[in-house]
């Protein structure tokens, strides 16, 4: 399978702090890839670099063949992104926000597509409510919609299920699994290991900005290991080091 996302020695330093330290990884087309790590391990910074939201201090990365440093706008035009914190603009309604996204991304027929998403994620009653008045869960639904409404070849999602109730988590998990079956790729960052084990085909573990491991989930299953216990033993070992 062709590689749709590739990072080579990607590093991000904030003054004295190294948030991401020479991370190299590759994600194949059609996979659901999980970037795992404890809080503060550099997952969000990694996603920000891969989507051109922040520049790497050194190293390089390509997403869908585009260089994230030289063409960040091109990258953001091609992919779908759900940031760590949901930030739809305060004074637009949910529907208006989707119209705004559609206008910026030049997506035709937004009314029909938006209505499908409002019904699918069960928030049609909120379509005319200002974003600032929406609950966190509904904002997350809106952000989920804006990331997938143009059916991107690759979606990068920071903590995809964090604000959803159990029913909605199930709906979203099913959607993500179906999405990659269509040949598209999803890159998620999460610290919910059970979810990662359930839906991811490949994974990478970050700790203190360093890559501890990357490989397919199937490899663990063959060895009779579970992702949560593998993750914990690796991170604990690294802590002692």
């Amino acid at each position: 399978m062709p590689v749709v996302l590739e990072a080579k020695n990607l590093t991000k330093r904030y003054g004295e702090v190294t948030a991401v330290d020479t991370v190299s990884l590759a994600v194949e087309k059609g996979s659901l890839f999980g970037l795992l790590g404890p809080n503060g391990s550099g997952k969000t910074t990694m996603i920000k670099m891969l989507t051109g939201q922040t520049r790497p201090s050194s190293g390089s990365a390509t997403v869908l063949g585009l260089d994230v440093v030289h063409d960040p706008i091109g990258v953001r035009g091609q992919v779908g992104i759900i940031p760590e914190q949901e930030t739809p603009p305060s004074f637009l309604t949910a529907m208006e926000y989707l119209e705004f996204v559609a206008a910026v991304r030049k997506i035709p027929g937004i009314e029909k597509k938006a209505d499908w998403w409002f019904n699918f994620l069960d928030f049609a009653d909120k379509k005319n409510v200002l974003c600032k008045d929406l609950s966190r869960g509904t904002r997350q639904k809106l952000m989920f919609t804006q990331a997938f409404i143009h059916e991107p070849a690759l979606a990068l999602i920071d903590e995809p299920l964090i604000n959803f109730d159990p029913i909605m988590q199930d709906v979203v998990k099913d959607y993500l699994e179906g999405y990659v079956k269509k040949g598209r790729t999803i890159f998620i960052s999460t610290h919910i290991l059970e979810v990662a084990e359930e839906i991811c085909s490949g994974f990478a573990i970050l700790h203190k900005g360093k890559l501890l491991h990357t490989g397919p989930v199937a490899e663990l299953i063959v060895r009779g290991e579970h992702l949560p216990s593998f993750f914990l033993s690796l991170v604990r070992k690294d802590r002692h080091v």
């Binding site: 939201q53 305060s90 910026v104």
Partner: protein, 468 residues
Amino acid sequence: MFELFTSMVKEEWRVHSTMFGSLSFALFPVMIFGIAFMGSFLLPLMRTTLPAGNLTLIVHANYLMLGLVVGGFGLLGNEVMNRRFGQASLVAYSARSLPLSEKFIFLNFVIKDTVYYFFLWVLPFGFGYVLASPFTGVPLTGALLLLLTLTLSFLFGLCGVFFLSTVYSRSRPVLWLVLLAVCAGIGGLAAVTGMNPVLFFPPLLLNTAFTWVNFLISCAILALLFGVAIVLFNPESVGSEKMYRDSFAPLMQRFSFLPNPPLAAKDTLDLYRSGSLVGQTIFSFLLPLVVIWFFLSLLSPFFPPHGLLFIVAVTTGVIASTMYTWVTMFDTFGPYACLPVAVSTLITSKLTTFAVLQVIPAIFIMAVTILSGEVAYLIPAVMLGISVSFYAVGIMAWLCGLSPNVLVYDVKVLFVYLILVGVVLAIFTAIAFSNPYFALSSVILVIPTWLLVQKAKVRWDSVDPEGF
């Protein structure tokens, strides 16, 4: 609950110091002090053409205007508490999880902002004047009195607008009634005494002849305005869900002639639905300018013929340039970070909205020109005001990108801003004084403005759009 206040003060410091370093923020009041200190040495020179009392009037008017410009807490209280610094988690917001009322949190927030403005602007200026007094022949007691009355002048502006903006957010008809009553009171005072009502402005009265009674009356008025404003402040009710019909698509259609119709439509809805288009126009633009016009009119005998009109036009231009902060205050780069939008595109869009808003200062200058019976100079005055506004916003965009509200407190930024704007103001005011029609030459400012905007786009595209 002093802890809440101190936490907010620390937080405000860190927000600025993490943006451009503690030293640059700490040097900001030092620069204001330096300006006042050095400026004090010009006093003997200025006194040859302008009586000391009139100079005092100008300085008080400026501090009143500063208070008026920054005092609109009632208007934007909920918004600044929630999103002033984007997604940064502020004490003002997180304190809502503590057993504290929204009003109490807001009270701390307003006091913190007032204290900051005092230490950043008011105290350094007064202190510079006080320290220069031995060299300028001004008695130390006079300098200390000026420091006190300037503080009061600033607080009158701040508390006055805080009160009016809170009334506005509760009931617009009541605001008009209050304004009508204030105008009637000022008019009545002028009619009864036969004197200019400005001379009854409490800080000026105190500066002319200090009495403890007048001082206490001033403090009581301030406390009353502030207290009523806090009581009237209406915290945003959590869970309220107001429905709106879809206005985005039609607006975007209407703005199809602009460079970025979706961004322009979003900015317009931000301004309109937040209430700040009307509110900011009244409290951060019209009110301060009407007051400064009123004060400056007392000095017209000292200006060249038609000088007052062009001074007002230039001042309007500078104040109008701050409209850029109105359009940049609603969002950080956050909402755009997941979209294919460059910082330069956003700067263009915000400047486009700013350009549309320039209709307001243009109308204001026209009104001043007509009311002062100088219609012959309408075009030069409007041209001067709007050219200055665009030039100043070009500098602001170049120096601050999308964060003028925060970066203005970087001493390097303020220094460059003051130099670049100050030189141009001096040149074009002198040109307009020499011949009112020469003010038309200010159109030439379009060249540096265009260059500054181009530089702003290149500069801010090369900076990480993270943070603010």
